[in-house]
């Protein structure tokens, strides 16, 4: 039984939204953030993101496949989960999950297909037997790789990225809406919530890619494109500034207005969330990466490769921690205070084993990387013989022309 300080409504003392509900926005945050990066190249044509564009798309896809799992694990009746798609109640933001998730899955799957189609056909031609049949089905039986077809692919990708970007934003923004629209809980109820969620999703996605890009480059003995890395760091810095500003703004306005909820929320922040909010989310995860990234961005010209690499990686890892603690503080923190606004319960400790436990959360984070590994084996994230650079060093003009038509 949890310990209560003050008075909590008798039913209000249980944390129903567990670690799994912290994992869900964390994972969809990666989906949205990685998609923003890949759209910066595919939709807005920013060449400095070319080295990381395909990795970002594959990452977004891999995390999307896992996104529904934490929800299923949390439900009291997971076998009834599909009811959200069968009889969705549209006044509920959660009902939006069914539509948003499946349509975004279709859009992203299509975009992946168009980007990798040439690769699929090449592999179909190279393989024999069962593998060939698999690739042939994946290519839907067409082997057209003429420049006209590829040009059509290029346009399709742009259209899909154009549809997909607002969709990815909505897929994560609606999660913020789920919390922001609950007038019963003053820690959650604010119009800023969807915006904060989306901006911190961008932070987590870009941070993940900074780490993943350098890691995979190291594993595959490829050079890291420094321009790409500094561009990623720059965008991470911008999004981090925006996120921290809005998160702080929420607190500052609440403290200034001093409406009836401020008493209990200030107690919540000072006691139950002191470590996870002030120490982890704001200082370790907020202030320090802000400074590190400021160095990377403002002193970009003077930095040695190793320094840039180290600083941006450390900052990215701290940002990943910041986003996780932000999700934790919102989801769990909101449930530590009672709707009586007179009481707080003892901090929530997730179980180690079990359906909604810590081990399950770790597994959920590992699965997308396994998917990425399989993805690379089956489809190939990096083109054969390609370096990390925008300029294709050592490749012929034909290759460069084809590479230039679509990422």
């Amino acid at each position: 039984m949890p310990e209560i300080t003050g008075y909590a409504f008798p039913n209000d003392i249980h944390v129903t939204w567990s670690l799994m509900i912290v994992m869900y926005p964390y994972i969809t945050g990666f989906v949205a953030g990685a998609f923003i990066v890949t759209s910066l190249y595919h939709l807005f044509g920013r060449e400095e993101f070319r080295p990381v564009a395909r990795l970002a798309m594959a990452t977004s896809f891999a995390f999307l496949l896992v996104a529904g799992l934490p929800l299923q694990l949390h439900l009291g009746h997971p076998e009834r989960g599909p009811l959200v798609m069968i009889t969705p109640h549209f006044t509920s933001a959660m009902a939006g999950f069914g539509i948003l998730y499946s349509s975004y899955l279709v859009v992203l799957a299509l975009e992946v297909w168009f980007v990798w189609r040439e690769e699929i056909i090449a592999r179909a031609r190279r393989s024999r037997g069962l593998k060939r049949a698999f690739y042939a089905v994946a290519a839907l039986g067409t082997y057209d790789t003429s420049p006209e077809a590829l040009e059509i692919d290029h346009r399709a990708i742009k259209v899909l990225a154009g549809i997909g970007l607002p969709m990815a934003c909505m897929l994560h923004g609606y999660v913020g809406f789920i919390f922001g629209a609950i007038k019963a809980n003053p820690w959650w109820s604010t119009p800023l919530m969807p915006v904060i969620f989306l901006l911190s999703a961008a932070v987590s996605g870009i941070a993940l890619l900074i780490v993943l890009y350098q890691l995979t480059a190291k594993l595959g003995s490829r050079p890291v494109d420094q321009q790409c890395l500094s561009a990623l760091s720059r965008w991470l810095w911008f999004f981090l500034i925006l996120t921290i500003t809005l998160e702080l703004l929420e607190i500052i306005v609440m403290a200034y207005e001093k409406s009836e909820s401020w008493l209990i929320i200030s107690e919540l922040l000072a006691s139950r969330l002191q470590f996870s909010y002030i120490t982890v989310q704001m200082i370790v995860g907020g202030l320090i990466p802000l400074i590190l990234l400021a160095i990377v961005v403002l002193m970009n010209r003077y930095l040695h490769e190793r320094v840039r690499s180290t600083l941006s990686t450390v900052a990215a890892l701290l940002c990943l921690l910041q986003v996780f603690s932000m999700r934790w503080n919102i989801v769990v923190g909101g449930q530590l205070l009672s709707k009586s606004l007179r009481g707080l319960r003892s901090p929530y400790e997730p179980e180690l084993f079990g359906r909604e436990g810590v081990l399950m959360a770790i597994v959920l984070l590992i699965i997308p990387f396994v998917i990425l590994f399989v993805f690379d084996r089956v489809l190939g994230i990096w083109r054969r013989g390609e370096g990390g650079g925008g300029a294709q060093a050592g490749s012929g003009p034909a290759h460069a022309a084809r590479g230039a038509s679509h990422g």
Partner: protein, 154 residues
Amino acid sequence: MEHARHVFRVALVVVLALVVFMLTRGLLVPKSYGMYGPYRHDNVAEQMNARKPAFGGAQACADCHVEQSKKRAAGRHKTVNCEVCHGPLRQHVKEDGSIDPMPVDRSFTLCTRCHRKLVTRPASFPQVVPEQHVNGPLEGKICLECHDPHSPKL
């Protein structure tokens, strides 16, 4: 359009998937869903018959226990439902009409639950500090030694 064949094929795959989904969904929506709102209307009738009522009210007891009912109705406990002290009707009269002995708590804790003096209780409500009210130790059925629960005023 020669080179867009693959686009049409993938579009067809998507449309087919949508059709399959709509077909499946049509089969799975419950029959009474949507009749009066976005819920399964059959549940209303199910809730009406979800349980057999356990409490009967004082009138139900009076049908058999005439004496006790009369005494209670004339006394200070006339607003106190029999089932507050005795337990629900269903524990005593089974659904098939057979009778089980009705449990009754005769200990002082039952009386003090209502009549222990608390500053929160309305001042006009009869309440005592049990330890001061009783000569001797507070235990067992001490209240019943003086008070008749069906007409408790002395």
